[in-house]
Amino acid sequence: MGMAAAESQFHVLAVDDSLIDRKLIEKLLKTSSYQVTTVDSGSKALEFLGFREEEEQSSSSDSPSVSSNNHQICPSGVLNFPWNHQEVEVNLIITDYCMPGMTGYDLLKKIKESSSLRNIPVVIMSSENVPSRISRCLEEGAEEFFLKPVQLSDLHRLRHHMMRTKKQEKQENQEEEGESENKAEVQPQSSHQAQQQSNNSSSSSSSSNKRKAMDEGLSPDRTRPRYSNGVTTAV
């Protein structure tokens, strides 16, 4: 897997319990030339990712495990997926926040706590603009927080995260620290992600709009992108 792989299609795993929203996000992602797999729950997402709790805890095994006894088809009609997770590379996970059972936040946590999965960028979507929720997700390691309904222009920013992660896989944590540490408190910033504002010139590439997390647990170049504060459907 050389740099050429970065040019090939990225694979996004989309998680949402709403059938309509799954259909929408799938179309948005496909239109953006990503490969897509959709699942309707956090637990199915983890299964697809080959998350094995026991393995994670022993943190020694990185060999693929194939479950031959699970051939469930998600009721929404989502594809059967191969259980050998090594064959399936996921470059980004985009998940709804509000889901029954495991929320998007729970899923995010599990992924970031997993030695094998933590490098996969995670994006959270929500229909509700709740600043504390947004901060919490960003603090936990989410790359972006999108307000629903997600727009095509929002997805333009994903490529940056997926490419950066591919690079990271090449050079472990060699990337320079371009920004100084900020306080852990994420404060609302203007611009970004306003559904109407899709022409933000400072989008994607690391720029002054992004903030760094102070949390030691996160890799030094992880940035905190701006999130929406000004866009409210009056709730």
């Binding site: 059938l19 259909k23 929408l24 179309k27 239109t31 229909s127």
Partner: protein
């Protein structure tokens, strides 16, 4: 009517729907996502919305009919409906959902019932409008447009 006249009709009709707030920009986004690979995308998504909404409206009626209303459940249904209406751009429906959730928070059963009636009403209207829109599109196709 020939294709051109029908197209004009479609444009006028669509503009009206936007102007009157039945649909918002999100519906336009849906239309833009439709392409040759998915020529029925909008109809498919909207059909899902119809099914989902009808199910939820029934659930809401049942939930509000209980002796002891489970407001959490009611709120969950409304939240779902708010989400799906927002996803397809059914603005008026979405707005009633917002008011509805406030009444849920207040555990105001009368307010909730009023909202449910409003929801049914708004849903019925937008459904009719969307079906008319799709019908026009079909006619245009049939007329070779």
């Amino acid at each position: 009517m020939d294709a051109l006249q029908l197209k004009r009709q479609l444009i006028t009709f669509t503009e009206l729907l936007f102007r009157e707030g039945f649909l918002d920009e999100q519906f336009h986004q849906l239309q833009q996502l439709q392409d040759e690979k998915n020529p029925n995308f909008v109809v498919e998504v909207v059909s899902l919305f119809f099914e989902d909404s009808e199910r939820l409206l029934n659930e809401l009626a049942k939930a509000l009919d209980q002796q002891n209303v489970d407001y959490k459940k009611v709120d969950a249904h409304v939240h779902q409906l708010k989400g799906s209406s927002s996803s397809i751009g059914a603005q008026r429906v979405q707005r009633v959902c917002i008011v509805f959730r406030n009444y849920c928070n207040e555990k105001n059963v009368e307010g909730c019932l009023k909202c449910l009636q409003q929801l049914k009403h708004e849903y019925a209207i937008v459904k009719t409008k969307l079906e008319a829109l799709f019908s026009l599109e079909q006619q245009i196709l049939a007329a070779g447009g």
